[in-house]
Structures are given as C-alpha cells and as structure tokens.
C-alpha cells in the first residue's frame, strides 16, 4: 500500500484506466480486440494525444521520436509520462472490484465516525471482500 510514512513507497494513483468492450459473442469480441490493438499502438496513441491533448495511456509512447513535439505542444505531458514509472500497483481488473471497493469505503467511514476501531473496520472489510470474491465474477 502507498504510504506517507518515512520509508513508505512513492506511488501514483495514475495507471488503472481500462478499455471496456461488451461480450456479445466471439466474433464481436475478436473484432473489438483487434480494434483495441489498433487504438492502443503507441504511434496511434501519440497521434491521438497530439490531436486532442489527451495524456498518453502507455508508457512506451514517450520513447517515440514524436514525443518531444507533444511535450512542447502540451507542457507537463513529459512529467506525467515520467511519473508512470511510479505505477506500482493498478487496481485489480475483476468484476467484483466495485463491491470490494464499496465495502472498504463503508468500513473506512465507520472508523472515521468512531463507530468501530480501525483494526475492526479493516477486518470487517477483509471478511466482506472474501465473501464477494468467493462468489462468481
């Protein structure tokens, strides 16, 4: 876990963005996959970033020769790309994640409201998460 404590790891919350496609049969899944491969090729991402100012979603984009120009057009983009090295842990990409996250959120609030101790809140969140993860995804 990231931490402010001395010796805690320096991490960024950037990084966990997802592309989502619907599962409407194998042919469409195959087509979507092909489309995403095309979309996320570093050269195409850079083209998109140049046109829109969107931050590049792959670290490899900064190694492209055109990246210097992007950094000049949108100052600060280079710093963002460099910070991608601090992505240590992305949020898990599983269907149960929203439920696990909500349970953790509720327990943190309960601890902040003084209704329970931090340890009990974390134990309860862990127990709920185990239950959700045991169910099918």
């Amino acid at each position: 876990m990231p931490s402010f404590a001395p010796g805690g790891s320096h991490q960024t919350i950037a990084g966990p963005d997802n592309w989502v496609v619907f599962n409407n049969g194998p042919a469409r899944v195959r087509a979507s996959e092909e489309f995403l491969r095309f979309m996320t090729q570093p050269t195409n991402l850079l083209k998109n970033s140049m046109a829109t100012g969107d931050l590049p979603t792959r670290a490899s984009v900064q190694k492209l020769p055109g990246f210097a120009q992007f950094n000049k057009k949108y100052p600060g983009a280079g710093l963002f790309a460099a910070n991608l090295a601090n992505v240590r842990q992305a949020r898990p990409q599983i269907p149960q994640y929203p439920r696990v996250s909500a349970a953790l959120g509720r327990e943190i609030v309960a601890a902040l409201l003084g209704q329970t101790t931090p340890q009990a809140a974390l134990n309860s969140a862990a127990q709920q998460a185990d239950g959700y993860l045991a169910a099918p995804g």
């Binding site: 619907f22 599962n23 929203p98 439920r99 609030v109 309960a110 409201l113």
Partner: protein
C-alpha cells in the same frame, strides 16, 4: 363475411381504445416484473452474458448484514412516517375545515410541498439543516440547543429524512381528509348535537368512524411509498453517514447500477415486492374489520 363480423364487433373497437394503455402497462409493468424475476435467479451485471445460479441470490440475502441493516432502516422509517403523516394530516385537515379568513390560502400553502419536486425540497432542507450555517441550528442556538448534524449525523440522518418527507407529503393526507370531512352528512352531526354530544364525543363517535375509509387508504398508500423510499436518500445522504440511511431500495440500486450485481439486487427487489404485497393484504384485511363504510 367472417372478417366483416370481426371488424364490426365491439371487442375489436374496445381493444383498440384500450390498446395504448394496455401496451404501456405491458412494456413498463409486466415486462419488468417478469424480467426481474428471471434476473433474481441469475448472476449478472446486465452487460456480460448471465449465469443461472438457482436460488443462490435469495440464500445470500439471509447472511448479508447490510441487507438486514437496510431492512431495519426501512421499517423504522415506515413506522415513523406513516403514523406521523396520517395523524398530522388529520390534525391539519380538521384545523383547515373551518370557516376562517384566508382558509383557501392556508389549504394551498399546505399542499404546495406535495407538488414541489423532491430535489427542490431536498436542496431547501440541505440549507436549512446545514450543521455549520443552517437556519435551524442558528435558531436552536438562540434557545441554547444544538448544534445538531442532521443529515451529517449518523444518529440523526434517518430522523431528519422522516421530518423532511412528512413535511413534504402531509399536504396529500390533508387534501384526502378534507374531502372526507366535507363528505360527512350534516344530518349526522346535527343528530349528535341534539343527543348532547360534546366536541370530543363528536370527534370520537361521528368524525373518526366516518373517516375510516380515507384513513385506510392513506395508511396503505403511505406504507407502500415509505417502504420504497429512495429519491431523498439518493440525493441527500447516499446511504450515509456510513450506512446510517441505507434503506432497501437504495441498497438494491447501489448493487444493481454501481456495483454490477444486478441479479442479487433483483432478488432484493422481489423480497421487497412480496413484503409490500403481504403488508397491504394484512392492512386491507384488518381494515375491513375496523372500517365503517357509510354507503
């Protein structure tokens, strides 16, 4: 020959007239009821292909502490909202059923909150009940009370919502009771007066029994609405602080549309529907025994 008979029959024109209503009820009433019944036996997030899991959703309900908490909150809310709004509505209706100057204005004023949108009402109460700069806490501080957190306090949020919704709906009960009060035959009141009935006796033995049908309707209607409480919670507290205002419909909404467990949410919706149906049947059954119908 046969076709002409069909075309000219009353059935066809009857169904043609009824078609718009039948179609809408089918699409927005029957289809969702059947569809959510199917969902409740599935594991699904409404996007990916569903899995059939039998009664697992219903069995999971039994050991879900947040579901139990939501049920308790819904029951507490209903147990407070229904008597407060019905009894309060009766009191206000009796007060407004007299020949006083400006009674039309008062009746309109009492009904205005009912036609206000929930969001407008909620924003007003958010400002009034704000813990830091709300008018209510300011006035309470003048008499040495508070400050209270209201919607921001885990112990007070549900009761604040009871207060707000009673204020918002009392006008409806008032209108129904006013109509019922004006339907009481003057001959009965006169006869009771000749027999020497005083104010309380008149209320207890003439007014109250004749308001029975209106009361039964309001209790059934308010209970159904109270158990389906959602808008106010969604806008004001999002179930919080913590889980203090999780009610059944808010919980099932968050499951189905925020956390991707629509099958489980559908099971909750079905349990709620059966609970509301049973409560209504019990209320109508008890009502038939207690309520006096004049005609």
């Amino acid at each position: 020959m046969r076709i002409r008979r069909i075309l000219q029959s009353d059935h066809l024109s009857g169904w043609a007239f009824a078609f718009p209503a039948v179609f809408l009820i089918f699409v927005f009433g029957i289809v969702p009821v059947v569809w959510s019944a199917l969902l409740s036996f599935q594991h699904t997030n409404l996007l990916a292909p569903p899995q059939w899991i039998g009664t697992a959703n219903y069995r999971a309900l039994a050991r879900d502490p947040l579901f139990r908490q939501s049920v308790v909150h819904s029951l507490v809310y209903t147990a407070l909202f229904v008597p407060l709004s019905v009894a309060g509505g009766l009191l206000v209706a009796i007060a407004l059923n007299r020949r006083i100057r400006g009674v039309r204005f008062y009746r309109t004023a009492v009904f205005v909150p009912v036609v206000l949108s929930t969001i407008a009402t909620a924003i007003m109460f958010l400002w009034l009940l704000d813990p830091d700069f709300g008018l209510v806490n300011f006035l309470l501080s003048k008499v040495g009370l508070g400050p209270y957190g209201f919607f921001d306090s885990a112990s007070g949020a549900l009761y604040s919502i009871v207060g707000m919704t009673v204020w918002g709906w009392i006008g409806f009960d008032v209108i129904i009771y006013l109509a019922a009060l004006q339907g009481i035959p003057p001959s009965l009141v006169e006869a009771a007066e000749i027999d020497g009935a005083r104010t309380w006796g008149m209320f207890r033995h003439i007014t109250l029994p004749l308001l029975g049908p209106a009361t039964l309707f309001l209790v059934v209607w308010s209970s159904i609405n109270a158990l389906q409480l959602f808008d106010e919670i969604y806008f004001l507290t999002n179930g919080g602080p913590g889980t203090a205002t999780y009610v059944v419909v808010y919980y099932l909404f968050s499951l189905a549309f925020q956390q991707g467990v629509a099958g489980y949410a559908a099971a909750i919706a079905y349990v709620l529907m059966i609970a509301i149906l049973s409560l209504t049947v019990v209320q109508l059954w008890v009502g038939r025994r207690l309520v006096y119908y004049a005609s």
